[in-house]
């Protein structure tokens, strides 16, 4: 098991508030890792540090042996990291197809080829029939899927998913879960997912990292983590006990 994405002692404060403190964890190649924790635990900040939106105050981010800490978001994407945004950011004035073409252009020499790739991604995520709609006309679950489609179209080696299950109906969620499982199985796509919906995390990830107040309080298999008293207390408390 080699670490594909390795986070070491990552720290970030915003005007004195320590959003992420000394966080370390690894994501092995080809695995699906869940990043969980209560609201405000620093999960999204962690994502933004990995994806280059913020520069870390301290610590390193290593991807496939290369240090990518402090790179710009576009450089990190080119290095093979795809991401979605918790608050979706579709290209509202463009059609669904055009949204995904923009992503697909990263790994395509021409627009024609990108169009072909966009088509297969949209079909996979069940959005092909919506291709000519403006992104602004989509429902929220559809927009979440569009986020995933756009990120997938960049053909990433690792996909960072920020709460893509939130607000989905159970059946929609099952579809999404099977899409990720299949991607992971067929192309060995590594996934790091922030998720509040425990059912999705538990069924997808082999490993779960738990954050609270910006620090890692537990890491391990879903079973181990759910039995960890610290986790139960801070987070799963209300649900599990």
């Amino acid at each position: 098991m080699t670490a594909f994405l390795q986070i070491d002692n990552l720290s970030k404060s915003f005007s004195g508030l320590k959003a992420v403190q000394d966080v370390s964890f690894t994501v092995p190649k080809g695995e699906i890792v869940g990043l969980i924790g209560p609201n405000g635990a620093g999960k999204t900040t962690c994502f933004n540090l990995i994806a280059g939106v913020y520069k870390p105050d301290q610590g390193t981010v290593t991807l496939g042996g290369r240090s990518i800490g402090g790179w710009r978001p576009d450089q990190i994407c080119l290095a093979g990291v795809g991401r979605t945004f918790q608050i979706v950011k579709p290209f509202a004035g463009l059609s669904v197809l055009e949204n995904v073409i923009v992503g697909a252009l990263k790994a395509s020499p021409s627009v024609t080829e990108a169009r072909g790739k966009a088509k297969s991604v949209l079909e996979r995520l069940g959005l092909w029939h919506k291709r000519n709609q403006q992104a602004s006309e989509l429902t929220l679950p559809e927009r979440k899927r569009l986020e995933v489609a756009r990120a997938l179209a960049t053909e990433p080696q690792i996909l960072l998913l920020d709460e893509v299950m939130a607000g989905l109906r159970p059946t929609e969620m099952d579809t999404m879960v099977s899409v990720f499982r299949e991607l992971n199985a067929s192309s060995g796509l590594t996934i790091l997912m922030i998720e509040h919906v425990m059912r999705a995390v538990m069924s997808l990830s082999k490993k779960v990292v738990v954050l609270n107040y910006g620090q890692v309080i537990a890491a391990g298999t879903p079973d181990e983590v759910t039995r960890d008293p610290a986790v139960l207390e801070c987070y799963l408390g209300e649900e599990a006990l």
Binding site: C77, F91, E98, V111
Partner: protein
Amino acid sequence: MIRHLLDGVPRRGIALLLVLLAILLAAPYLVGGYVLSVLFLILYFAYVGQAWNIMMGFAGQLSLGHSLYVGLGAYAAAALYVHFGISPWIGLGASIIISGFAGAVIGFLAFRFGVSGVYFAILTIAFAEFARIGFDHFAWVSGSSGLFLPVENYTENDFWNLRGSPAMFYYLMLAMTVAAFLLCHLLLKSRVGYYWLAIRESPEAAQALGINIFKYKMYAVVLSAAMTSLAGVVFAFYYNNLFPEQIFHISRSIELILGPIIGGVGTLVGPLVGAFLLTALAEGLRELMLQIGVEVPGVKQVFYGFCLLWVVMFLPDGVWPPLARLLGLHKTERED
């Protein structure tokens, strides 16, 4: 090439454009000098509107200082001609380089430090004003007393030195407008076009998809500036006089963005439609005032102001999108 050009464009649209082009080509044989000069103005505004639209309509960067590029382009080519007798066809190289460089400087200053939106617009105005005051004191181009190109009576058109009849300028402007239209059409179908639209819609998401937004915004500014400077060259040789106070003035910048805003920002046809509507209406108003015998400066601009107010309030996407739907020319479904 041609197939690529026509790809995804509705047939009726092509037919209408060809009819329009035929009419415009025949116009010098059909209409008098006055109408031709109005048509020239329309094409001029359509061209610069198209160039501005690359920045605002495609890449989402609001420039309110495009008179800077018109002025730099005009002065560069005119000064080279007046001082050294260099043909504008060579001088336009200098125009493109100087304007492109000015655009690059503004872009660099703004985009490096995340100056965007309204602040970017203000920075562009500041540079245009800077140039206006600077050129007022720039002795080599005669400062505020104005730079004049030699005017003689020509028995035949001297295309190499751009000395000649209004019809010659008209055809030149028409060619430029058509070229700009085709260029923008191709750009929108290319990688850079997709990237621009993505940046316009959401810079953060664009960046997350691997787009170097600084680089692509710079492309937009430099291309738009260079294209705009060519309009300046034609302006200089058509009107034969240049005053910093006029050419760099902020009202010129606003005048040249009214077309695309009224026509429809970000659309290909918008700048054309807007330039036509605005110029035709303004000339109509001028005629009307002449008939009544009122001659007050400022009336045309007040009229522009109300047009702008009306469009911004009631047709936020401009005239073209609803007009296109009316004509059945809106984006059709692609058959894949």
